[in-house]
């Protein structure tokens, strides 16, 4: 077992003539909380899509637990233990809160259509087990009282949390959170920070956080990578990042020449 859970080895991704991410390397260790920041359009979500198999890297390798992920379909990668949330919430709108979580248990399902058709003892035992697990998860996040509510009628913050619950239902070893604080109030952001730390400890997983809000990232991540125009401009501890002139320039712009 390596001390690297996820490793990107000089990954480049091009869309036609546009290089979205260039020669990007990063490491996420076991139980580590890593941040990935950068201005709008820096390629953060592209990095996510590359890790989860939505896009394939043009060059370089994505390695997870010592295994190469290049060329694998997203659902295979999820089964290997990487789960994600989306920047714009993508719950299953016609399903209830409970069913959104239940659907995610499909990854490690022992039964298939045959068993669902026959409804035998084993099938029912597994269904009961899934129901318990799903409800336990919902309980941890205080969403169990909404179990039969259609997910789209939940308040915004709850929808964000439900998406995290759904991702956790796939029993990941690495959780990718794509701008979880987007659109949240400062109070909500604070509780989100606590929540992410709680998840990391309680579920014993690594978390990679893409975020816009500096306060959130600086507050909880031990290591931070900074992307600008698809190029890594800095990496290190939050204090170092905060003082890095390149980062300041990327976020605040260059000082005008006088």
């Amino acid at each position: 077992m390596t001390s690297k859970r996820l490793e990107l080895q000089s990954c480049t991704i091009r869309f036609g003539g546009l290089t979205a991410v260039a020669n990007f390397s990063m490491v996420v260790g076991p139980r580590e909380l890593v941040g990935l920041i950068g201005p709008n359009g820096a390629g953060k979500t592209t990095v996510f899509n590359m890790i989860t198999g939505v896009y394939q890297p043009t060059e370089g390798q994505v390695v997870f637990n010592g295994e190469r992920l290049n060329g694998l379909k997203p659902f295979v990668i999820t089964a290997k233990g990487i789960a994600r949330t989306f920047q714009n919430i993508r719950l299953f709108p016609s399903l209830t809160v409970f069913d959104n979580v239940r659907a995610a248990f499909n990854v490690h399902l022992a039964h298939g259509p045959r068993h669902a058709w026959w409804r035998g003892g084993k099938f029912r035992a597994e269904e009961a087990q899934i129901e318990t697990k799903a409800l336990d998860l919902l309980k941890i996040f205080n969403l169990d009282r909404h179990r039969d509510v259609m997910c789209k009628s939940l308040p915004y913050g709850d929808q964000r949390r439900l998406e995290i619950v759904r991702a956790l239902a796939t029993t990941p070893k690495l959780l990718l959170l794509d701008e979880p604080a987007a659109g949240m109030t400062p109070t909500e952001k604070k509780s989100l920070m606590r929540l992410i730390e709680f998840i990391q400890e309680h579920f014993d997983i690594s978390v990679l956080l893409v975020e816009h809000d500096m306060r959130v990232v600086m507050g909880i991540c031990r290591r931070i990578y900074v992307l600008d125009y698809g190029i890594k401009i800095a990496e290190g501890a939050p204090e170092a990042i905060r003082r890095d002139p390149k980062v300041i320039e990327a976020y605040l712009g260059e000082e005008p020449e006088s």
């Binding site: 016609s94 298939g112 669902a116």
Partner: protein
Amino acid sequence: MSRARLILGVFLLFLLVLSLAVEGVLATTFAYYYDVLITIGINVILAVSLNLVNGYTGQFSLGHAGFMAVGAYAAASWSNHLDPVVAGVLGGMGNPAATNVCLVVSMLVGGLLAALAGLLVGIPSLRLRGDYLAIVTLGFGEIIRTAILNTDFLGAARGLSVRGNYTNLFWTYGLAGICVYTVLSLVNSTYGRGFLTVRDDEVAAEAMGINTTRYKVAAFVIAAFFAGIAGALYAHFKAFITPEGFNFFRSVDVVVMVILGGMGSTLGVILAAALLTILPEILRALAHTSFMPPAFQGLLENRLIAYSLLLIVLMLTRPEGLFGDPSAVRRRFIRTRPK
């Protein structure tokens, strides 16, 4: 024993007793109503199975008549050539046991061959989405029809006489019951929630570990299987089939049943299948009443005009169908989802 299976068992038993009691009287004395009743059963099988694809899985297939044709012609050819062999084991043709066994065997042949066709069409085409899939399935249905039209072995344009008049109330409604049971038991399981996630958001479904292509193919194959069975029942009911019985408009009929009933609502689709089978009959009866001006007769007798009117009114007033989930449709047709 699970509750769902128990309900199916009780339904089948009840149906057996009922059909033993009334089948004879219905088929001889009320032949017209019997005919309508069987047609309703066949349409329920077609609509409920298509609903798994178009409703629950959110794919738009326009080729259901094609699978029905595969089932009908496969079952008919099988019966025409091999029924004496099958019946021979069971004491010769005409024996009720042999008749029922022949029907079941030929239904299985029709269903399995249609399912195979579903698999062959499904694997390459289900990578397509929305309108493109509709076009491919439409093309498939037309290919099947044209192929039969040009195959002498299947009677070509002359049509094909089918040995035996096997279809009865029990098997028609029994299979309708099994079809409803299959769709509902699949959808109402952790596995089956996968169909709904494919309809709701394919990207999110894949990210949750759901193999969307496999789900689409599964839905397609299961639906094709039941369409094939419906085709076999139809062939053994009409005792004579022509390629024109499985044209594009037959597919549209089934799609209209699904839309009218409400995509993703099995109860609604069952009711719509019954309603849309009875409606042309009522209109025809109405057309021939003495007070109806002759000018309207043609209009009333043409079911497509009635269907179109019904659809227009429905889309304006209740786009989700009679029993559908309103939000599901609003998302389907008024979708604004940034990448």
